[in-house]
Symmetry: C2
């Protein structure tokens, strides 16, 4: 029934390629077991198949509406929002004390992947509430936690992240929303506007709790003067409106089921906000959460790409068209299009990207779980640096490649793929958001090259190289992987030489140094996914010997070969550009376009 | 006012980069002049700005409707369809005898580019009528020409191409629509169904004239048994229905303003069709027209990409966000995003692809005009072979790259680009059709490598190399282009070596030979656009010396540099794959996905 992802592959990723059952050695997870994790995934599959997927098309066709200042969403979504709360999805990773299940984040993210693949729009609602609640429990006071989180956990209240303003999108340092102290300690009057607020208002929840960035009057300019506030739509006790008004609803190309609002705060000077943690530390708090959110967005991208891949795969297995090349006998029936090498190329492209980036995201979430619970300072620092380095890659590469893989899915279906009779055109539209939100690809390029490869004396990069070498040595023990190992090893060297050249450019100023940071990000995306495929190929060769599931493992090995043959060589053109010393993008003047 | 294309660039392409005024040396065009051509382009700009562009968004939001078996299109389109006829756009290239203007096809295509950039959906209507009328005048009898074409030229009747069937899309040899001879000579009873028929039915015209492929009862199997018929919706004289019914209307991701129909022919055994030319020659006739149609689709793709480029360019010039890298002073105002190198990279990417592929299409249409009117057999044969070779490239490369450039346009706008408040998301959706219709990219890959580079003892390829060398020699005379010439020359060599390796693989059978034909097509797309940029750069260096329009020409030279630096190197990864001797796409089994 689940035709939007492969349960078999997800199981492989979690329990074979990474042995996640070992995570129960960590005391926080000691009540859990592999069986238990599988039950969680099974529950996600159940709600995805029975509730989310059936609404996929309808939520796209019947967009939310703004009526009398309120946003009305698809009625079917109301029950789902509530169920996400009741079934414990929102606070699953939190401690027992908080009513959570102490679930590894890896399992939570994997379950999320199933929900997102089934219906991306609907998965956004709990995802945001979890993020907002997590900010409160991490940095808020006990009183704030008690006041706001229980109804967020239960799905009665929606959580949001309110960052962007009309003049402050990528440049958060320019935000101008004001917070004016009141007589009541910790309570401020908020005044300003926020745009692009996902789930910023809707009628499936009783209240909306905004985690909002603003400047306390008199705070320093730039990012050092930004504070974090809890701003509820309604007063939690009285239920009275808190002067938060919905100014507009954005209509967008895709994931139409999730409402994106333009909100006004304090138009009547009566919007109360509650300071979270210390004044002027807001951006630091937000970023701590944003790393998880970024991996989350990477996973969203993988999920949509996965659904598109499986839709096109199913079509290719059923649709007859043409004959094998060289077949002249027209009385022969047409063959299924999956028999054409060019169609298989488009399917292998999708499989290699979706399963390769899924492996990367799962690896990152596993790292995140380790970092959160690791007792050893040195190990934690290393893993944290590695995770910090991988985050911009794991957010951006799946997002950018998702555009190309969902496009390949459309192409496999041909004319049918362009019509609304099949879901691939919707996936193509939905995938387009991911290179934009939670930091554009350009921003993540700057983050990787301008910050992450340098900080802590390059510790993150050193760790990455160490981990790649470890897996390379293992892979070399399999003669079947000889060619792949040669290709991967030489790619590692090329990328390292390239990195040294980039660092050399830093002397020429930040513009020259970072002009092609986006390309450097892409190179590393390709390199990391090659690494993930080498791991998967090695795991599969081992498994093949004692398994009856030979097709699955052989498919993995051939897909790894595909990636090394077709995708990895793309770093050549990128590196040749990165190593150049002429800079047309800097030289070009506005008037010359 | 025209913010969807650059009149300055189009003028450069036509009258500087190619000296089109010389075409008036050909007797057929001798009444024309450069001024005259400019008037035609000005007229296109006028209707595009005043009529087409204002309806762009509305035609997307208010889709055609199927009501009581008839398709109703946007009311505003009715006036435009009629005006296309009245103003002489439909038969502009035809002879004076036929009521045409003997306009070069190059100018007609360039005018079409303006219309398509303004509103792609609306441009489809006359484009199809021209194609259908062209088939009748080229292969039909005088009686057929007199009976059908006048009202097509005047825009009163719509023309279509009716090829695709549910079981015959890419594989035309499998089409099953039947034509049964009647007592009346040349008249047949048609029975079958056709899908994806663009403008197959609508209420802006009085009649629809289908140019339909079918099999005469008893005809040979495959492509050798396909004949071409004229099948009107209504009897031209009596106005009675001709048993053509509209079974369905497709809803699609983009270019929603143009209705795409599912049609039934002869459900009541009363659908009359009129044989065009000789029986069983239908596919040959159709293909003669299809080459022009394919260049037309390439141009559509360029046009949409151009509109998206200019929309994102305008936004980048206006939108302030962030500061130059390294600027720490936050009291400085934010800069326009066009000042960021990464944004300029996305704009240069779009400029280089759109203006580079526009140059390629104009070059091809110029070749086509020469071929049509050339008196010298040898020259004609050479140019025809070159045009045949370039056609799959000129159709597919702009189509495939249009996906990436319209995506870059969305990215430049960020969150705003994903909303329906700006047209870029619409361009992104509309562009997705081009790699599919008039032959998918995969089909054109097979055409290029499996047919075009081989036929006539490789004459087309030899001509291509000769022309590239000619321009290379010229470019070498400019010291400013030294680096670019070195890069281009070495690319030519690499592509030739790659071609030899591919031809070597032919011995291993067609599947091995053609498995990566799509990649070979992409390599040649990049090479040809590099060539076009070298030409444009050389033209611009010359012009720069005596012009006050220095920014325009300097922009061209820097964009050429951009292409050689960022895009041309991409052939390295593709060629490295093409030269490989392992074939994962052939090896992979259906059960292994």
């Amino acid at each position: 029934m689940a035709n939007f992802y492969s349960p078999r592959d997800l199981n492989f990723q979690l329990f074979e390629n990474i042995d996640l059952s070992k995570i129960t050695d960590i005391p926080y997870f000691s009540d859990h077991s592999k069986e238990n994790f599988e039950l969680v995934l099974e529950a996600a599959k159940e709600i995805a198949e029975r509730k989310l997927h059936p609404l996929l098309t309808e939520m796209d066709r019947k967009e939310p509406q703004l009526k009398d200042g309120s946003i009305l969403i698809h009625p079917g979504m109301k029950e789902i929002v509530r169920q996400f709360g009741e079934d414990g999805w929102i606070n699953a990773t939190f401690s027992y004390d908080e009513g959570g299940q102490q679930l590894p984040w890896t399992i939570h993210l994997a379950a999320g992947y199933i929900l997102q693949a089934a219906n991306y729009s609907s998965s956004v609602f709990p995802f945001l509430t979890t993020g907002a609640a997590n900010l409160i429990r991490s940095f808020g006071s006990k009183a704030q936690i008690d006041r706001f989180t229980p109804k967020m956990y239960s799905g009665q209240w929606q959580g949001t992240m309110a960052l962007t303003e009309p003049d402050a999108g990528s440049s958060l340092s320019d935000l101008t929303t004001q917070a004016i102290p009141t007589e009541e300690e910790g309570t401020f009057l908020i005044k300003g506007q926020k745009i692009y607020i996902s789930c910023g208002d809707h009628d499936a929840c009783e209240n909306v709790v905004h985690l909002l960035l603003a400047r306390i009057k008199g705070a320093p300019a730039g990012t050092k003067g930004i504070s974090l506030f809890i701003v509820p739509k309604l007063n939690p006790e009285s239920g009275e409106p808190n002067d938060v008004t919905t100014e507009g609803l954005y209509h967008k190309m895709g994931y139409k089921g999730a409402p994106i609002a333009h909100l006004m705060f304090g138009s009547n000077e009566a919007c109360k906000g509650y300071l979270v943690g210390e004044a002027n530390h807001g951006l630091k708090y937000m970023f701590q959460m944003m790393n998880e959110a970024r991996l989350g967005v990477g996973m969203n991208a993988v999920a949509i790409a996965t659904a598109a891949f499986h839709a096109s795969l199913a079509y290719a297995k059923e649709r007859p068209q043409g004959r094998k090349l060289g077949e002249k006998n027209l009385s022969q029936p047409q063959v299924k299009i999956i028999e054409h090498a060019d169609v298989k190329r488009m399917l292998l492209f999708q499989k290699s990207i979706t399963e390769g980036t899924l492996a990367l995201l799962i690896y990152c979430s596993w790292l995140s779980d380790q970092v959160t619970h690791d007792k050893d300072f040195e190990t934690r620092k290393k893993r944290e640096s590695l995770l910090d380095l991988l985050t911009p890659i794991a957010k951006s590469f799946p997002s950018e490649m998702g555009l190309q893989t969902t496009s390949a899915a459309v192409q496999v279906l041909g004319g049918a793929g362009y019509t609304t009779d099949f879901p691939v055109e919707q996936y193509y539209r939905e995938a387009r958001i991911h290179p934009i939100h939670e930091g554009t690809t350009g921003i993540h390029g700057l983050d990787l090259l301008g910050r992450k490869v340098i900080q802590n004396d390059g510790l993150g990069w050193k760790e990455l190289m160490k981990e790649m070498q470890k897996d390379l040595i293992k892979a070399k023990s399999f003669p079947e992987l000889k060619t792949q190992c040669v290709k991967f090893e030489s790619a590692i060297q090329e990328v390292n030489t390239c990195l040294q050249k980039q660092l050399g450019k830093a002397q020429k100023g930040p513009e020259v140094f970072l002009a092609d940071a986006t390309l450097f990000l892409e190179v590393n995306g390709i390199l990391c996914v090659s690494w993930m495929w080498l791991r998967q190929a090695a795991t599969s060769i081992q498994a093949l010997k004692n398994s009856s599931d030979k097709d699955f493992y052989q498919g993995k090995i051939t897909t790894a070969e595909y990636f090394m043959e077709y995708e990895l060589p793309k770093i050549q053109g990128l590196i040749s550009r990165l190593n150049s010393e002429t800079f047309p993008t800097i030289k070009m003047k506005e008037s010359e376009f």
